[in-house]
């Protein structure tokens, strides 16, 4: 398998300014016992599913593009809080949400595609 998940991860983290020494590989923050929790958003038929994903702080969200057309995951806020590279079929993008809040995002190639991550 291509190491696409790791590289997109790195891009996202750099854009967030979160890259500190070893940040990619450190254990989850105190309070999250065991392995870091993960949640998945799938892209099928030009739609993010689920439309609204609720996660607890510290969760890593993974997007998987199952369409045969590339998509992106781009923060709707300005300035952009995050932006993925284009994801071709079956490629993934992930990032960890540490701060509570509502994160709206869209696909910058097909801007009708919108969805939200709610971090509780």
């Amino acid at each position: 398998m291509r190491p696409i998940a790791l590289s997109t991860d790195a891009v996202a983290l750099m854009m967030l300014g979160l890259v500190t020494s070893g940040a990619l590989f450190t254990a989850p923050k105190a309070g999250a016992a065991g392995p870091a929790s993960e949640a998945t958003v799938t892209i099928d038929n030009f739609t993010f599913t689920p439309q609204t994903l609720k996660v607890s702080a510290g969760t890593r969200v993974i997007w998987i593009n199952r369409d045969d057309i590339p998509h992106t995951i781009v923060s709707s806020s300005g300035p952009r809080a995050f932006k993925s590279p284009p994801l071709d079929t079956d490629e993934r993008f992930s990032m960890r949400f540490d701060q509570r809040g509502e994160y709206r995002y869209f696909c910058s190639i097909h801007p009708m595609m919108t969805a939200t991550i709610v971090v509780q």
Binding site: F46, P70, P86, P111, M112
Partner: protein
């Protein structure tokens, strides 16, 4: 713009979807659009002083999935056919999505194949060409003399060509957009021009509202059309939707060209606008290029759509 209350009754509106595979000669006479299949009418004016040019679109170099495992091969096959077009086209217009993923290798391939035709070619980007650095690599390569936003205009053969960008800064939930700065430039660009000069406007996403639920339209396209409406002959060439669609509104004729890579479904006929899965034998009838002919003294440009396969 002054409101003209009898505009709706004077304005003839034709809204028709024309399916690929039916190579089509498209002409306008006295405000009435007419179409006929290639082969049943003279396919092209033979007037030696006519300006003829080609619209190519949505080459998506790099696309390699069903229904087309090799978008480069179909692009090349279509360009090869242009070598026998007579008279030789004066220029080509590529209405965007040159690449699939904004990769240099994809643009290299497209540029090389276009250069091999020897035909002067002008480009506008599609959203697939804007994935890196807000399209800067695309503009540097394909429109180096454009305005800072990527738009430009030029005159050739008596026709004024205007290339507009409606794929930059797409907003969540939105359609294509031109933006205030570009509209201001357009107004300035058209200012003082004779209304009798034919205009050809190219944008990637349709300038008119084709199907908003799929984002197939330009949110401020109506403002551009207000500036264009005083001209006697306006032809708007678009790509993006990978199918033939034509509409005539007053003096403005809209035409979306075929992709050279893969077809997309008619508006609303599929769960999403993803590539149509068609069997290999049918694919080449759904890909193509358009030839456009302008004969001085005629009010309309004729457009002939040419599928790759019969």
């Amino acid at each position: 713009m002054a409101k003209n209350t009898d505009l709706p009754t004077r304005r003839r509106v034709l809204d028709c979807g024309l399916w690929a595979g039916a190579g089509l000669l498209w002409t306008m006479s006295g405000g009435i659009p007419r179409s006929s299949l290639i082969g049943k009418a003279a396919a092209a004016p033979t007037n030696a002083s006519a300006l003829n040019f080609i619209q190519i679109s949505d080459s998506h170099i790099g696309f390699n999935k069903a229904p087309n495992p090799d978008a480069t091969a179909t692009f090349k096959a279509l360009l090869d056919r242009l070598s026998v077009v007579n008279p030789r086209p004066a220029l080509m217009l590529h209405t965007g999505d040159v690449s699939h993923l904004s990769r240099d290798a994809e643009w290299d391939t497209a540029q090389q194949l276009v250069n091999e035709t020897g035909i002067e070619t002008h480009f506008v980007p599609g959203e697939h060409d804007m994935l890196v650095d807000d399209g800067k690599p695309f503009f540097a390569r394909f429109a180096p003399r454009a305005e800072p936003g990527g738009w430009y205009s030029f005159d050739q053969g008596g026709v004024h060509f205007v290339a507009l960008i409606n794929v930059a800064r797409l907003k969540p939930g939105g359609e294509g957009s031109l933006g205030a700065a570009q509209l201001e430039w357009l107004e300035h660009d058209l200012n003082g021009r004779s209304a009798s000069q034919p205009l050809v406007v190219l944008t990637h996403i349709p300038l008119w509202q084709v199907y908003p639920p799929w984002g197939w339209g330009t949110e401020d396209g109506a403002q551009a059309l207000t500036l264009l409406r005083r001209f006697g002959s306006v032809t708007v060439l678009n790509g993006h939707i990978h199918q033939l669609l034509q509409k005539v509104e007053g003096n403005v004729a809209f035409h979306t060209g075929l992709s050279t890579a893969f077809p997309q479904p008619a508006p609303g006929t599929a769960p999403s606008p993803g590539p149509m899965k068609v069997d290999p034998g049918r694919l080449r009838r759904l890909l193509g290029v358009s030839s456009v002919y302008y004969v001085r003294g005629q009010s309309r440009l004729a457009i002939v759509d040419q599928p790759l396969g019969a």
